[in-house]
């Protein structure tokens, strides 16, 4: 077994090694966290946790993840199916509008819905005034609860499933459906026995992204008073002052994620979901009633996930916020934009490189599992990643400083506290997003295309540039978009690692919201959303022109 994998490692071509080194450097924080598992904890924190709160963390996390899984798949798959396969009024508009909720940070939507639905919010106040009720006279679902948290996260995380499933549905070939039709399957049966299974690997990628983000979320659950793993990690670290136990809790989280992802991979085992190109199915024209239903569904989703909170934020910005756009505001926007575009660009390029490493070294299991591990960082709360990144970089800085001291040079800290380190942390967090996306797209390109191109005299570089890249374009763009928006919203790592006098929109909005000045936080959040809109619209335009030329 071991000698076999060693042979696989030895047989890797030379150009793979820099990439492998890079993967390992991305894995250091994850390894740092995992290493805590084998470190003995001398404090009695664990017995305390087991006796008191651990069970609550586990059950709440379980319900949260399950709830969000149901939420994002049902919203994501339905909307993706409608947009990709059905022709109805407004379809073109919804195709991109359905991505919008992605730009809303989950904790912000939590704050806005609390403002709207809370006991003192406009809705309940209206009900009380109208029916002359007072506290306790009527039932109203509590927004600050586990159920509320599930709804909030489902509303902003479903676009992961939507984006990926839409591409998958849109590219399914017509011949399979015709075969299904001949076999006497009705439309519903064709969906469940052909479309859905074919799209499954892609949907699972989207789902696992949404769930990993759910696990890493801290702001929403903390505000709603729902005790889950992530809040437990910070309570243990900040409250009990036991950083080691906090790391150990994080590792447990990682192990569970690893297990679930492994399970999914195992269940697919050798099955490869390569599709032969060919004709793509035409969209089904819906009847009038069906069109109304489709329109209603998509509108409600966008309304809840984007429009309603956006209106609330706009109201706060215009009516209540004190100083809205001061001189520093442009700088913040520029900083956010810069970080997000660099990270998105690098993430896409790295993912592409990793995807090729896998494709060209197949069936090498070593590279495949390395790349798989590289995406794990997404499940960890950003602060944990940040601390994990600090360690190797400061070690490196100290090493350089000491070496340089022999020559009488004082280097001080080079990487620590620089944006290089921050972007590195972003990549560790968000590589999973682009990696999953691009990997599945790469898997969908059948090896026969490569062979065909070769017989036509194309070299490898020609295959990459003229065959693969055009086929991958949609995935490259959409994964770039996802990383861009994720980086715009990113808060904990930015807070912990950024240089002096450097702020982003997310930092500004968080500091105000956390000080319970929601209205004053609104302008920064609105700007995050608007900046996030730019690539959404651009992407849509370029995808549209893409589908025209094909």
């Amino acid at each position: 077994m071991f000698s076999k994998s060693w042979r696989q490692v030895k047989s890797l071509p030379l150009w793979c090694w820099p990439l492998i080194l890079l993967v390992f450097s991305f894995l250091t924080p994850v390894f740092t966290v995992l290493a805590s598992l084998v470190t003995a904890n001398e404090k009695d924190t664990w017995s305390h946790l087991v006796d008191t709160v651990l069970l609550e963390y586990v059950t709440n996390t379980f319900y949260l993840v399950m709830g969000v899984a149901v939420g994002v798949t049902s919203i994501g798959i339905t909307s993706a199916w409608l947009v990709a396969r059905c022709d109805f009024f407004g379809r073109r508009f919804f195709a991109w509008a359905l991505v919008l909720p992605l730009a809303m940070p989950a904790y912000i939507i939590a704050y806005t819905y609390t403002g709207l639905l809370d006991f003192s919010g406009p809705l309940q106040s209206f009900l009380r005034d109208t029916f002359d009720w007072s506290y306790g006279d009527y039932y109203f679902p509590e927004i600050k609860s586990l159920g509320g948290a599930i709804c909030m996260m489902s509303l902003v995380l479903y676009p992961y499933v939507y984006l990926l499933a839409r591409t998958a549905f849109a590219n399914q070939s017509a011949s399979l459906f015709e075969a299904g039709q001949l076999a006497g399957l009705n439309a519903r049966q064709r969906f469940f026995s052909i479309s859905l299974p074919l799209a499954r690997p892609t949907i699972v990628v989207g789902l696992s992204l949404a769930l990993m983000e759910t696990l890493a979320d801290y702001g929403t659950v903390q505000y709603f008073g729902v005790n889950v793993f992530s809040t437990g990690i910070f309570r243990t670290w900040f409250g009990l002052g036991d950083g080691l136990a906090a790391s150990q809790l994080s590792s447990l989280l990682l192990v569970v994620v690893l297990f679930l992802l492994g399970l999914e991979q195992f269940s697919r085992r050798k099955a490869k979901y390569v599709q032969q190109g060919g004709r793509v199915l035409r969209a089904v024209k819906l009847s009038f009633v069906e069109q109304i239903l489709a329109l209603l569904f998509c509108s409600v989703v966008i309304m809840l996930g984007f429009l309603l909170p956006f209106i609330q934020l706009a109201y706060w910005t215009i009516v209540e916020a004190e100083q809205v756009f001061d001189a520093t505001f442009w700088q913040l926007t520029l900083n956010s934009l810069k970080l997000a575009s660099i990270t998105a660009l690098l993430a896409v390029m790295l993912s592409l490189a990793f995807a090729y490493m896998q494709r060209f070294t197949r069936p090498n299991r070593f590279t495949a599992s390395l790349v798989f591990l590289a995406g794990l960082g997404y499940a960890l709360p950003g602060t944990i990643i940040a601390v994990g990144v600090m360690l190797p970089f400061s070690k490196l800085d100290h090493f350089i400083h000491e070496q340089a001291a022999h020559f009488g040079i004082e280097t001080g800290l080079i990487f620590s506290g620089s944006l290089v380190m921050l972007v590195f942390a972003y990549l560790i967090r968000f590589l999973a997003v682009s990696l999953g996306n691009i990997n599945t797209a790469m898997d969908n390109i059948t090896p026969h295309i490569d062979e065909a191109a070769k017989t036509l005299g194309e070299k490898t570089s020609g295959i990459i540039w003229r065959v693969h890249l055009p086929l991958l374009k949609t995935s490259l763009l959409s994964s770039g978009l996802l990383v861009f928006v994720d980086t715009l919203k990113e808060l904990p790592a930015t807070m912990a690692l950024r240089p002096f006098n450097f702020n982003t929109l997310a930092v500004r909005s968080f500091e105000l919201a956390n000080d319970e000045q929601l209205a004053n936080a609104a302008p920064a959040v609105i700007t995050i959303v608007l900046v996030g809109l730019i690539p959404v619209i651009w992407l849509n335009a370029s995808m549209h022109s893409n589908s025209k030329t094909q």
Partner: protein
């Protein structure tokens, strides 16, 4: 067309930023930018010393300090509670500052015994009550809120919040653990709803009749009164402040404070900054603009703070809060205070 590689290099180049200035001081601050920047700007204006600022979560910044070790560029560590300053001191990150000015103007209980950190403003955490349903005579101490007569009438935020942890730590410092533990068991039974939201949410809950009393920082009540939100203003108008434990140890207060990093290369400028923050001018900013209580005697309150009256503060040395924090969290876990 701009080549992607050119773009990347241009972007990468813009990532490197080097700070150089003759006279400057670097701060790691757990205090949010908008709550400290105005004062820092005043300091720069007065002294011509440039201030560089990173804000963040106290424990993450502390981890950053520890990792950077003796190479850290930070000169000052600023936090919003004594517990984190205590942790920084325990980790050996701070140095003693022998400043007669700071010692003269900051009361002993608001600074470290070894002069490694100093309180710069205080935040009081009293009881707030509904003026419609509660007679202030029925209130006395924090401990009394565990009495059966308050069953279902108390609102308070999660015990994950540092303010609540410090409050319970102050009780542990005043009484035996068994007594605090018993208090917590009974106190939790009196909650009107599971703890959630922030301090403002608890005040709103009183106004809406969900509960009659809450424990919250005056700072947030002031924010509601001074803000532009009409609902919050109306809610705040239905709530008043009661100073508990006046016959005993006094009302619980915590601080925002600062210490100077051991390896600081700008020690002199850092001391100047701390002294500036303790100056009458800066202290008056805390009291007038930020609605916090000054640490320095003889600084005029804002009319709002004035209207809540003066109170006796719990004068326990705040280092104790840091020492007892973990024990407080464990007891709250055991009592089921979420």
């Amino acid at each position: 067309m701009l080549k992607p590689t050119t773009l990347i290099f241009a972007l990468m180049f813009s990532l490197s930023s080097v700070i150089t200035s003759a006279s400057e001081v670097n701060i790691y601050s757990a205090r949010k930018e908008m709550l400290i920047k105005p004062l820092l700007d005043q300091f720069t204006q007065a002294t011509d010393i440039k201030v560089n600022l990173v804000t963040g979560k106290a424990d993450a910044l502390l981890a950053r300090l520890l990792n950077e070790g003796k190479l850290t560029p930070a000169d000052v560590f600023l936090t919003t509670d004594a517990g984190r300053l205590y942790r920084a001191k325990q980790a050996g990150m701070l140095q003693s500052i022998d400043s007669s000015y700071l010692k003269q103007h900051i009361p002993a209980y608001l600074r470290d015994i070894d002069s490694q950190w100093f309180g710069l403003s205080t935040r009081a955490r009293p009881i707030m009550y509904s003026t419609e349903r509660v007679k202030p005579e029925s209130l006395s101490t924090y401990e009394a809120l565990a009495q059966p007569e308050f069953k279902g009438k108390v609102c308070i935020r999660s015990s994950s919040n540092i303010y609540n942890q410090s409050l319970v730590a102050s009780m542990l410092a005043a009484d035996e653990p068994a007594k605090t533990s018993q208090f917590l068991q009974d106190f939790v039974k009196n909650f009107a709803q599971p703890p959630k939201g922030g301090d403002r949410d608890q005040i709103k809950a009183i106004a809406n009749g969900i509960c009659d009393v809450a424990i919250a920082n005056t700072y947030y009540l002031a924010g509601m009164i001074n803000g532009n939100n009409k609902d919050q203003q109306e809610a705040a108008a239905k709530v008043s402040v009661f100073w508990p434990n006046q016959a005993g140890r006094g009302t619980h207060v915590n601080i925002s404070g600062a210490g100077i990093i051991k390896s600081s290369k700008n020690r002199e400028a850092a001391v100047k900054l701390l002294e500036f923050l303790a100056s009458a001018e800066a202290q008056s900013w805390y009291a007038q603009t930020n609605n916090e209580y000054p640490v320095r005697q003889g600084v005029a309150y804002s009319p709002l703070l004035e209207s809540w009256g003066t109170f006796k503060a719990d004068q326990i040395n705040l280092s104790r809060l840091g020492e007892l924090n973990a024990q407080a969290v464990k007891l709250m876990d055991k009592a089921g205070w979420r």
